[in-house]
């Protein structure tokens, strides 16, 4: 499904601001996996997502989605396989267009022709799909009138319409209040299960990361320091996660210390 081989990303190479954001990352995600990615700010989660989605080119390494090498493909071409949802609810929809127009746009990927795609059949289908998020009676309203939670739910629905091979959820509930975050999270779970999608999700909420998905990755300083899957993931608690993190950090610390004293 997703194969990341030796991916390194260096920002501002050769300048005083040079920063290694990702260092030799290797990751293999199976079809149907739901991977939660956690880590502190600046640990490289967002950079990793940007590399997969193609926002910036990689410095070195290979990215393969669905058996196709997309390392050098521009972002809009990768969008055929990858559906991405951002933290900012305004990024996934066009505010000055109606809900149905936005959904019509998301029905098929790629360049649009001169057809009139928005038929009454499609409208009916949209109505059915919009019912779970309670927007079925506002299809002709501009998206700009919706709340952040509603917009994010709509974005989620639009992204799943085209059945992407891989969903990238970039802290997509972080800008919402706890109640809306929960609604959007439940919808996420439902859409992923219904569509049997493969997903990667960045979150700062450890409880979310433990409750959802079948695999958990922790990143720190541009490395994947923890990769928990299967039964081990099921038994995971917040406390054991924190303990594991401390353990790894301490190990690093002692080895650093050792280096200094020798």
């Amino acid at each position: 499904m997703l194969e990341i081989q030796n991916v390194t990303k260096v920002f501002f190479p050769g300048t005083v601001n040079e920063k290694v954001a990702l260092e030799n990352i290797n990751l293999h995600v199976e079809k149907g996996d739901v991977v939660c990615v956690i880590g502190s700010n600046g640990s490289g989660k967002s950079t990793l997502f940007n590399m997969i989605a193609g926002t910036f080119p990689v410095t070195n390494g290979k990215i393969i989605v669905d058996g196709k090498d997309v390392t050098n493909a521009p972002e809009y071409k990768r969008a055929f396989y990858i559906g991405r949802i951002f933290q900012d609810p305004t990024k996934g929809t066009s505010a000055n267009m109606s809900i149905e127009d936005n959904m019509n746009l998301a029905c098929t990927k790629g360049m649009k022709g001169l057809k009139f795609g928005l038929t009454s059949e499609r409208r009916k289908e949209f109505r059915r799909l919009l019912e779970p998020i309670g927007l079925q009676d506002r299809m002709a309203d501009n998206v700009g009138l919706l709340s952040g939670g509603q917009r994010q739910a709509l974005t989620l629905l639009m992204t799943t319409l085209s059945k992407p091979s891989l969903m990238l959820l970039d802290e997509h509930t972080a800008a919402l209040d706890p109640r809306n975050a929960e609604i959007v999270m439940d919808l996420t779970k439902k859409y992923i299960e219904d569509g049997k999608l493969t997903a990667m999700m960045v979150t700062h909420n450890m409880q979310f990361a433990i409750d959802y998905g079948n695999r958990l990755i922790m990143m720190d300083e541009g490395h994947i320091i923890l990769d928990i899957k299967g039964d081990e993931k099921k038994r995971l608690t917040v406390q054991s996660l924190v303990d594991k993190f401390r353990e790894i950090r301490k190990k690093d610390f002692t080895s650093d210390e050792g280096l200094l004293t020798e």
Binding site: Y76, T90, K91, A95, L105, K112, T159
Partner: protein, 311 residues
């Protein structure tokens, strides 16, 4: 006389539709217009003068206009230049190109040849010639507007509209924004040049300086239109744009006719148009501020009422 204003307004409205595409639908400040409207006029005039015919003249002026838009969009896409600067570059280059098209003359007049505005009175000979011109122009504008409405209701047109609101959406849906910008700016300048082609036939000559200040005038028409009514339906948006164009020309007519009473001459029109745009923007702003204020007042009243009932 009123027919004259309407014809002028309708021809001008086609250009305003072009401006509507670039400024409102694409949200790109494209200044190519100042050049491409004169290019359209020059191409149509030279075609007619050299016997290629009116139809060919208008088709070619549209296509050359599209080409102007493509140049601007390509400069913007490839060199990552702001579209404002790309437009200024194209506009400046077009000035020389326009003089070349006109055979190195500043203006060429359409004498002793058939133009649309000589043919309209023949086609609609059952009405006075002024009305005939109006009918002809109206049919032309309706045809253009209907085609434009249909285009922006197609999937591709919707994608262009969505890009104006949010470029990331287009990328996420697997479309290249650069291609959509090419199409959008091409169409916008095609319409603008087409309007120039009509204008040359209406006034009977093409002028290399025709385009000066056209962007601002078109923008004024778009903004006047937006005062009329608000809508998110493309057919109503184009309609109000056309009405805005006619009203703008009407205002200019009043300025010409009665302006002398307060000492205004046609030399002042560019200044006045600029002020009109600024006033429109100010009114639009105060309008939202006023509704915000009203909302706040209502909220305070509600809060006080609640406190009273609690107390």
């Amino acid at each position: 006389m009123i027919e004259g204003i309407l014809v002028e307004g309708l021809i001008f409205a086609i250009m305003a539709l072009g401006i509507l595409i670039s400024y409102r639908i694409l949200d790109m400040a494209d200044l190519t217009c100042d050049g491409s409207v004169a290019t359209g006029a020059a191409v149509a005039t030279m075609c007619i003068v050299n016997g290629l015919g009116i139809t060919m003249g208008l088709i070619l002026s549209f296509l050359v206009g599209v080409l102007c838009g493509l140049v601007t969009a390509t400069i913007h896409n490839k060199l990552k230049l702001p579209v404002l600067l790309a437009g200024i570059l194209t506009m400046t280059m077009l000035y020389s190109v326009n003089l070349r098209i006109l055979g190195n003359k500043a203006n060429v007049s359409l004498v002793r040849v058939d133009t649309l505005y000589r043919l309209f009175p023949e086609w609609f000979s059952f009405v006075p010639s002024d009305v005939a011109s109006l009918i002809g122009t109206l049919i032309f504008v309706i045809a253009v507007t209907v085609l434009m409405d249909l285009f922006f209701r197609s999937d591709m047109g919707m994608a262009i509209g969505a890009m104006g609101g949010n470029e990331q959406v287009i990328i996420s849906q697997g479309m290249n924004p650069a291609t959509l910008k090419l199409i959008g700016l091409g169409l916008s300048n095609g319409l603008i040049a087409l309007s120039g082609g009509l204008l040359a036939q209406y006034q009977g000559f093409a002028d290399a300086n025709l385009g000066q200040g056209m962007v601002v005038q078109g923008l004024a028409a778009v903004m006047i239109g937006e005062f009329l009514f608000s809508s998110n339906k493309i057919s109503l948006i184009t309609l109000r744009c056309i009405l805005g164009g006619i009203i703008y020309k009407g205002l200019m007519f009043l300025g010409r006719k009665y302006g002398y009473l307060i000492g205004i001459t046609p030399n002042d029109f560019k200044l006045l148009t600029g002020i009109l745009v600024i006033i429109s923007l100010t009114i639009a702003k105060t309008r939202t501020m006023a509704s915000d204020k009203a909302a706040r007042k209502k909220a305070i009243e509600n809060a006080m009422r609640k406190e009273e009932t609690n107390a």
